[in-house]
């Protein structure tokens, strides 16, 4: 390996080690939380008519919940890592190291993606015995997962760069990530919404992430898969461009 590659792999391993050493908090806790949602909502809504032909409400719910966990955990991984380094001051070790913007970006995003994958796979494994899901389009499934996890990891990086204290990250999570992920059709099909909200949902990128993920399982969803993929890719592209620009110029990180 070249020195640059060793640098990248080291940062990636360090980021993985951070969440790996507290798996209880970083994987088990989110899995338990979403399982509780599943239990409660599946129980409360079991008598409702199925959303799509031949897809029960519980089946409909699982992909949405998995995606919600992916969104929240990918965001949490990068944003909390960065803000901790900033608050503790140890970010200087990284800043003084011969690592470039692309290496920072790649290592942080990849580590977050790994955590998101771990959460998603654990949830699917746990629900599988009770809610067996078909996998109609594995390619779409993987593509939507990667784009979503990576997008939110990038958003987490941006939030970490902008934030000056933990409160700022909490505000970002509470007023942006959580509401948008709840209002994206995790618990319902947007077709069931009043017209205003139905149209508004189509401007929420998280809606396409969840809808596209559902398509991967059932082969149909609220909007066509190419549209979901386009939104996910577009969101990732825009967020990455902003984030890389910040890293290249040293925005907020360099005084």
């Amino acid at each position: 390996m070249t020195p640059d590659q060793i640098g990248f792999v080291t940062l990636l391993r360090k980021e993985v080690k951070r969440f790996w050493s507290v798996l209880g908090q970083t994987v088990t806790a989110p899995v338990v939380t979403t399982m509780l949602y599943l239990l409660v909502f599946a129980q409360a809504m079991k008598d409702r008519a199925s959303v799509y032909e031949g897809v029960s409400y519980t089946e409909f719910l699982v992909p949405g919940l998995v995606m919600m966990a992916v969104i929240q955990n990918a965001f949490a991984n990068t944003s909390s890592s960065l803000i901790q380094s900033k608050v503790m001051g140890n970010i200087v070790f990284l800043q003084m190291a011969p690592l470039g913007p692309l290496q920072w970006f790649g290592a942080y995003v990849l580590a977050a993606l790994l955590r998101a994958a771990l959460v998603a796979l654990t949830m699917l494994a746990v629900t599988l015995p009770f809610v067996p899901l078909p996998v109609t389009s594995p390619l779409a499934l993987v593509a939507v997962f990667v784009l979503t996890g990576a997008s939110l990891a990038v958003m987490g990086l941006i939030a970490g760069i902008l934030a000056e204290k933990f409160d700022h990250i909490a505000a970002f999570t509470n007023f942006f990530v959580t509401p948008l992920s709840f209002l994206s059709g995790v618990f319902y099909s947007v077709h069931a919404l009043p017209p205003l909200w139905y149209h508004a949902s189509h401007f929420n990128p998280f809606f396409y992430m969840i809808d596209g993920f559902r398509y991967g399982f059932f082969g149909h969803a609220d909007v066509p898969i190419w549209q979901s993929l386009a939104w996910c890719a577009g969101f990732f592209g825009v967020a990455s461009a902003i984030c890389l620009r910040m890293l290249v110029t040293g925005y907020k990180l360099k005084k």
């Binding site: 640098g7 380094s85 503790m88 001051g89 800043q95 011969p98």
Partner: protein
């Protein structure tokens, strides 16, 4: 020969505060260099700019010939910096931290023996498995020093490595730095203990209010001011003759310190004036100027932070 560090026209403002107002100087390869100045002079700002932590508003810096902005990778591989603040990552043990740090610089297992050697030399061997958060301040400082050296940089900058460090550790650090220097490493040191700088540094730059006041070899700096100090203890109640009054530089507990300019105020003239006035002398003592005197001369301030003494 290529300078170890070349600083040209470096300016830095933080909002309304001007931290550096156009700094130019060079640090030569293999030199033990002292960067001195009172609090707020801009030393840490300059170091942070060299390290890539802070962006300069104007100017150019190179480390071993590599521009710190355009060729930041090469420049940083040549450089190890010990920051002034005691920063650490509480997630990792001492040894993990050092191995991670080595990895950032593209170093793998081949430096592990060097890491163990440093842990040994810095008296940290017993703490290698401890979490960073479980270390005392002095131990954290030593880990910071080891971290700056993991990739065996050619140029090492230490920002107040001996601040808040006990006497024994200070000696350990001195001998460690001297050893590095002897092995060919360029060492740049900032400190408020001027005896330390006088003892260790071959060349010294003094910054004040963001400007370079002086840069010279330690020997030249000490010779530059043609002063010597004469300490006199006079008997109880005796008065210094009026003519000698303007020469008094300090006075404490009955001991007077006169600052004499060679050529203008020969010591014999002082004794003559005392004899003419019929004043006896209890005790007499001369002192050569030290860096502290020169520092005060140049900056009008004492180097040691209030309460500190080396």
């Amino acid at each position: 020969m290529q300078p170890a560090i070349e600083i040209a026209g470096v300016r830095k403002t933080y909002g309304p505060v001007t931290a550096l107002r156009g700094i130019d100087f060079e640090i030569r390869q293999g030199e033990f260099f002292g960067l001195l100045g009172p609090n707020g002079a801009g030393k840490s700002t300059l170091i942070s700019i060299i390290a890539g932590l802070v962006q300069m508003n104007a100017g150019r810096i190179s480390v071993m010939g590599y521009d710190t902005v355009r060729q930041f990778r090469q420049a940083r591989r040549q450089l190890g910096v010990v920051p002034q603040e005691l920063v650490f990552d509480p997630f990792f043990t001492v040894r993990d931290m050092l191995r991670i740090q080595a990895g950032y610089y593209g170093c793998g297992r081949e430096v592990w023996p060097w890491i163990d050697e440093m842990l040994d030399r810095l008296d940290l061997a017993g703490k290698s498995g401890s979490s960073m958060r479980a270390l005392s301040g002095g131990m954290k400082r030593r880990v910071l020093i080891a971290q700056a050296l993991v990739h065996r940089p050619q140029v090492v900058i230490l920002d107040e490595p001996t601040a808040g460090v006990d006497v024994e550790l200070r000696r350990t650090l001195w001998s460690f730095m001297t050893e590095l220097h002897r092995a060919g490493t360029t060492v740049v040191l900032t400190t408020h203990y001027l005896e330390e700088a006088q003892e260790l540094c071959e060349r010294i730059a003094i910054l004040d209010k963001g400007a370079l006041q002086v840069i010279d070899t330690t020997r030249e700096l000490l010779a530059r001011h043609p002063f010597r100090f004469l300490r006199l203890r006079l008997p109880e109640g005796a008065q210094l003759p009026e003519a000698l009054r303007p020469l008094v530089a300090a006075e404490q507990e009955g001991t007077l310190e006169l600052k004499l300019e060679s050529g203008r105020h020969p010591i014999s003239a002082v004794f003559m004036a005392l004899r003419d006035a019929g004043v006896d002398i209890d005790d007499v003592h001369t002192r050569e100027p030290d860096l502290e005197d020169i520092f005060i001369e140049l900056t009008g301030r004492s180097a040691a932070p209030a309460g500190a003494s080396a």
